[in-house]
C-alpha cells in the first residue's frame, strides 16, 4: 500500500469498519445518553473529535519519551491525567478567548474527560504503532465515526419515540435493540474498505 492509500485506509476503517461506537463499544454512555436530539448529538460529537485530536497530539510524543526511558507502564496514568488536564485547560481558554466556540462545545467538554473513546483512541494508536501523522488520522477517523454513529442513531431514536413498543421493552431495552440493528448496517462495510484501499 502506498502512503496515501494507507492513510485513506486508516481513516475509512476507523469511520466504517471499526466504528468506535458500534464495533468497538467505546463511548457507549454518550451514545445512549445524548443521542436523543440531533443538535445535542452534533455538538457532543464535534467536541469529541476536537478532544480526540488534541489529546492524540499531546500524548504521542510523550509516550515516545516514556518508551525510550523504559517507562511504558506509566502510559495509562500519564495519558488519563494529560487528557483530564487538557480538557480543563481547553475549556478555560475557550471560555476566555473564543466565546462562540465555547458556547457551541463548552457544555460537553467536562463530560468527555472520562469518555472511554478518548483514552481508547490514544491507547489504540500506541498499540498499533502508528506514526504521529497516522495517529492523528486514526483519531480523526474515530471521531468522525462517532459523529456518524450518533447522527444515524439520533434519527433512529426519533422514529422509536412514536413506535408501538411492548411495555417490557420500553425505554432502554428498545434503544439497545435499535442500536443492535444500527450496528448490523455497519457490518456491511466490512469488505468494502479493504477492497478499495488495501490492494
Amino acid at each position: 500500500m502506498t502512503g496515501v492509500s494507507y492513510a485513506a485506509w486508516i481513516v475509512f476503517t476507523a469511520i466504517l469498519t471499526n466504528n468506535f461506537v458500534l464495533c468497538k463499544f467505546l463511548g457507549i454512555c454518550p451514545f445512549l445518553g445524548v443521542s436523543k436530539k440531533v443538535n445535542t448529538a452534533m455538538g457532543m460529537s464535534v467536541a469529541v473529535i476536537f478532544v480526540m485530536l488534541m489529546s492524540t497530539a499531546a500524548t504521542w510524543h510523550l509516550n515516545q519519551f516514556l518508551e525510550s526511558k523504559g517507562l511504558g507502564y506509566l502510559q495509562t496514568i500519564v495519558c488519563i491525567l494529560i487528557i483530564a488536564a487538557l480538557v480543563q485547560l481547553v475549556e478555560i481558554i475557550l471560555k476566555k478567548y473564543v466565546k462562540s466556540l465555547y458556547n457551541a462545545l463548552g457544555i460537553y467538554l467536562p463530560l468527555i474527560t472520562t469518555n472511554c473513546a478518548v483514552l481508547g483512541v490514544v491507547l489504540l494508536n500506541f498499540d498499533n504503532g502508528f506514526t504521529f501523522g497516522q495517529s492523528l488520522l486514526n483519531s480523526l477517523g474515530g471521531g468522525v465515526g462517532f459523529l456518524v454513529a450518533m447522527l444515524i442513531f439520533s434519527g433512529v431514536r426519533s422514529r422509536l419515540e412514536t413506535a408501538d413498543i411492548p411495555e417490557t421493552l420500553k425505554g432502554l431495552p428498545a434503544t439497545l435493540i435499535a442500536a443492535s440493528l444500527t450496528s448490523v448496517s455497519f457490518m456491511g462495510f466490512a469488505g468494502v474498505v479493504d477492497g478499495i484501499f488495501a490492494k
Binding site: 457507549i28 445524548v34 507502564y73 496514568i77 417490557t168 435493540i177 442500536a179 450496528s183
Partner: protein, 249 residues
C-alpha cells in the same frame, strides 16, 4: 456488633441485585458489551475490575479526609489509574492470554464509570471497611452481569461454554480440574451474529428488558439512562451543564 455485620451484609448484597451496576444503574456498559464474547474473558474482566474497585475504594475511603474536595476527581483518577496499572502488569505476567484477549479494554478500566462512580457516591463518605465491602459487592454484581451476557453470547454465537478455560486456570498450575478447557455443544450450528457487536447490543437489550420486568414486579423504578444524570461526574458538572443548557434555550 450484630448491627454492624447486618449493615455490611446489606452493603454487599445491594450490589448484586437491587443496585446491580450494569443492569440497574447502567454503568460500565462499554466493557460489558465488549468483553462478553466469551465466558472466560468475562470472568477475567470481572475479577480485574473487582480488584481495582475494592483497592481504590479502600484507599479513597482512607484518604477521604485528606483529599481536598475541589480536586477530588483528579485525585481519584490517579488512585484508580495506579491500581489499573498494577493489575495490568500482573495480568501481563501471569495470564498473558487474557491480556491479549482483553487488549485495550484492560487499561480502559480506568474510565469504567462503576469505579469512579463508587468512589464518588460511596467511598468518599463511608469508613474503610464498608467501602471495601461495597466495592466487593459492586464488583461481584458487575462480574455476574458480564457472566450472564457471556453465557448467552458464547453459547449461541460460538456453540461452546467456558472455551479456553485453561488460560485462566493456568495461574493455579498445570492441568487444574483435569485440564478442563470448555465444552462444545454437539450438533449445534452457532449463530455467529451473537458474538459480533450487534449481538452484544441485542443480548444486553433483552437482559435489560428482563431486569425491567423484575423491577416492575417488585415495584422498583426501571433502569434508565437520562443523559448526564447517571454519569459519576454529574455531581461536579451536570448541574453546571443543565444550567448552561437552560440559559442557551
Amino acid at each position: 456488633m450484630a448491627d454492624e455485620k447486618c449493615s455490611l451484609r446489606k452493603e454487599f448484597t445491594k450490589g448484586l441485585l437491587r443496585e446491580n451496576p450494569v443492569l440497574r444503574l447502567v454503568l460500565g456498559t462499554c466493557p460489558t458489551l465488549a468483553v462478553s464474547t466469551s465466558m472466560v474473558n468475562a470472568i477475567g474482566m470481572g475479577v480485574a475490575a473487582t480488584i481495582v474497585l475494592v483497592c481504590s475504594n479502600i484507599v479513597i475511603s482512607a484518604l477521604r479526609k485528606v483529599i481536598p474536595g475541589k480536586v477530588r476527581i483528579p485525585a481519584y483518577i490517579v488512585v484508580i489509574a495506579s491500581f489499573v496499572t498494577m493489575v495490568q502488569m500482573l495480568v501481563k505476567a501471569f495470564v498473558p492470554a487474557l491480556d491479549s484477549a482483553l487488549g485495550v479494554y484492560l487499561p480502559l478500566i480506568v474510565v469504567n464509570c462503576i469505579i469512579l462512580g463508587r468512589a464518588e457516591a460511596f467511598a468518599n463518605k463511608n469508613p474503610v471497611l464498608a467501602s471495601a465491602v461495597d466495592g466487593m459487592g459492586m464488583g461481584v454484581g458487575f462480574t455476574a452481569a458480564l457472566f450472564c451476557m457471556a453465557l448467552v453470547r458464547e453459547l449461541l454465537g460460538n456453540g461452546t461454554l467456558f472455551d479456553g478455560a485453561q488460560n485462566l486456570l493456568k495461574v493455579f498450575g498445570d492441568n487444574v480440574l483435569g485440564g478442563f478447557n470448555g465444552v462444545t455443544i454437539p450438533h449445534f450450528t452457532p449463530i455467529t451474529a451473537f458474538i459480533l457487536p450487534c449481538g452484544g447490543f441485542f443480548v444486553f437489550g433483552v437482559l435489560m428488558a428482563l431486569a425491567n420486568k423484575i423491577s416492575d414486579k417488585k415495584k422498583l423504578p426501571r433502569a434508565e439512562l437520562h443523559g448526564c444524570d447517571h454519569c459519576p461526574l454529574s455531581a461536579t458538572c451536570s448541574k453546571v451543564v443543565s444550567e448552561r443548557e437552560d440559559k442557551r434555550i
